[in-house]
Symmetry: C2
Subunit: 314 residues, 2 copies
């Protein structure tokens, strides 16, 4: 009782409490977490499921989650799904049923997330990050993908761009991508430009370089002369930059470059790249704080946090 700070609550005398603390120090005692977990049913573990922990975006989030949890004596268990729905299911089952995590933070790869509606998961609080899943009553912490996209495209238009090609990463149904495409389309329409499907290219996440190249050839063939490229993530931006160094794409050398997701590299390339940066640290901190508040009962209502982006001009 003393160790758990419940000495007063249980009416232990100050003297006894001091004696207990003293003994703990002398014996270098630390309680057995397994017995504690067995008894209380709490694991003091939080699970983090992302598509790829080696992606700096997610590993930065992981780092910030970890530091928040550490302060509250919680631990973090991280797993990657490699964008596979099957693997995501397996990991959620494992973490909840077998590892008994007290809560879950998930960047889901699901198109249809009804999986999460099963009642046996309902006792474990979940906070979704990065991607909004189509679920009622889901807690999430995400970036304002629509707003960021709208802002940067509006900026390009204000600077005089007339034709902007947009390179989207698959799967297109992810809320992040959908929102970014919508931001692009609406910024155009607000400026009286109709959406042109030829200028919206789907780039498969498994062969980015090849698809970007194909997309550029396609633009050339159809005779388009875009004055700006908008890459919906940084991998595509990098691929575009690589392609634009090639002779066959010399026609595009004057094109303005914009990217969703800012990376250091954009400070070094000779080609100027403007970008939308995401509040990565904030996603980690905010989601873990939210989850801890739900676990401790401080937060009982559903919470949806949308963090704003930052336009970076160069």
């Amino acid at each position: 009782m003393v160790l758990n700070g419940k000495g007063n609550q249980y009416g232990i005398s100050k003297k006894t409490q001091a004696a207990v603390l003293d003994a703990i120090a002398k014996l270098d005692y630390s309680p057995n977490k397994f017995a504690k977990s067995l008894r209380t049913g709490k694991s003091y573990f939080i699970g983090l499921i992302v598509t790829d922990i080696s992606n700096p975006f997610y590993s930065t989030i992981a780092k910030n989650i970890e530091s928040v949890l550490f302060e509250h004596e919680y631990n973090l268990m991280v797993c990657s799904t490699d964008e596979s729905e099957e693997r995501e299911k397996l990991l959620v089952e494992m973490m909840i049923n077998q590892q008994g995590v007290d809560g879950l933070i998930v960047a889901s790869a699901f198109k249809n997330a009804s999986f999460y509606e099963q009642s046996r998961f309902s006792r474990t609080p979940i906070v979704f990050i990065d991607r909004v899943v189509p679920l009622h009553n889901a807690n999430y912490v995400v970036t304002d993908n629509f707003g960021g996209s709208f802002e940067i495209v509006s900026h390009l238009l204000k600077e005089g761009a007339k034709q902007i090609a947009c390179f989207a990463i698959t799967p297109l149904y992810l809320s992040t991508i959908e929102d970014r495409i919508n931001g692009y389309v609406q910024a155009l329409e607000k400026n009286g430009i109709k959406k042109n499907e030829d200028l919206i290219k789907a780039i498969h996440f498994d062969h980015i370089k090849e698809d970007v190249e194909k997309a550029l050839y396609d633009l050339l063939e159809k005779g388009y002369k875009p004055d700006a490229f908008f890459a919906l993530n940084n991998h595509i931006a990098v691929a575009l930059l690589q392609c634009m160094k090639k002779k066959e794409f010399a026609k595009f050398s004057k094109v303005e470059m914009a990217s969703f997701d800012d990376i250091d590299l954009f400070n070094i390339t000779d080609k100027k790249v403007i970008s939308v940066s995401q509040p990565v640290e904030e996603i980690g901190k905010s989601s873990s704080n939210l989850l801890l508040n739900i676990i401790s009962g401080k937060q009982t209502s559903i919470s949806n946090v949308v963090l704003s982006t930052n336009l970076i001009l160069r």
Copy 2:
């Protein structure tokens, strides 16, 4: 007994075993890990301690460790030390005493690692990665930093470089950095060039950009005309590339660039950068397999693995 595959060992009849398996399937039963851990004293958790999990180098290692552990039904717990010895101590204590991890993989920030020699840690096997710690009987899996450095500097010299400036990241006592500096020095000496302290610059990891700039100014002031720069890690290489775009350093525009640690970005910069790439995936896989083998008793002797690097010319 059946569940743990010890049915035959304990002499349970085939019939009963089948009935047990059947019931498990019907009831969707999964054993309680806390009770299991309490009873056996095993946690089925491995701890990974690195200096910064948001660094792609470490997060790629983490991903590969995770996938090896997953196959063996082990879980991973990741923590970052931010290069602080105090924090490393705290994390090791916590993981071993409180979390009861079955093993530890550590990229240590320690200069003097006697901390790890305490007998109360001796029951938990540890595999050190990335950095060699000055300990007898330590298991480790590291890159051949000396060899990689020696190879790339030798290449520069063969291509005609006469004066090569070397930019080292602090703390200089880390085995990785020490070995890279030694590789540089010995490659020079083998080619009859004496080491010149003026050309070896220490760059503090907390303010890389400023220190790189200072170092370049210093070279200018002292009238050096190096024909190659060797950055001992990729952050320094990036900072150098940024500086070299500035007018004040125009004198260095023709300098050859070499970097320890290859990154994607080097494929895009207009300045050609050659590099030494590390077998990152291999470090993760090899260290986790080694640790699991030690835990299961398959490996009883100390194991030191040194993985070779790859010279990347552009």
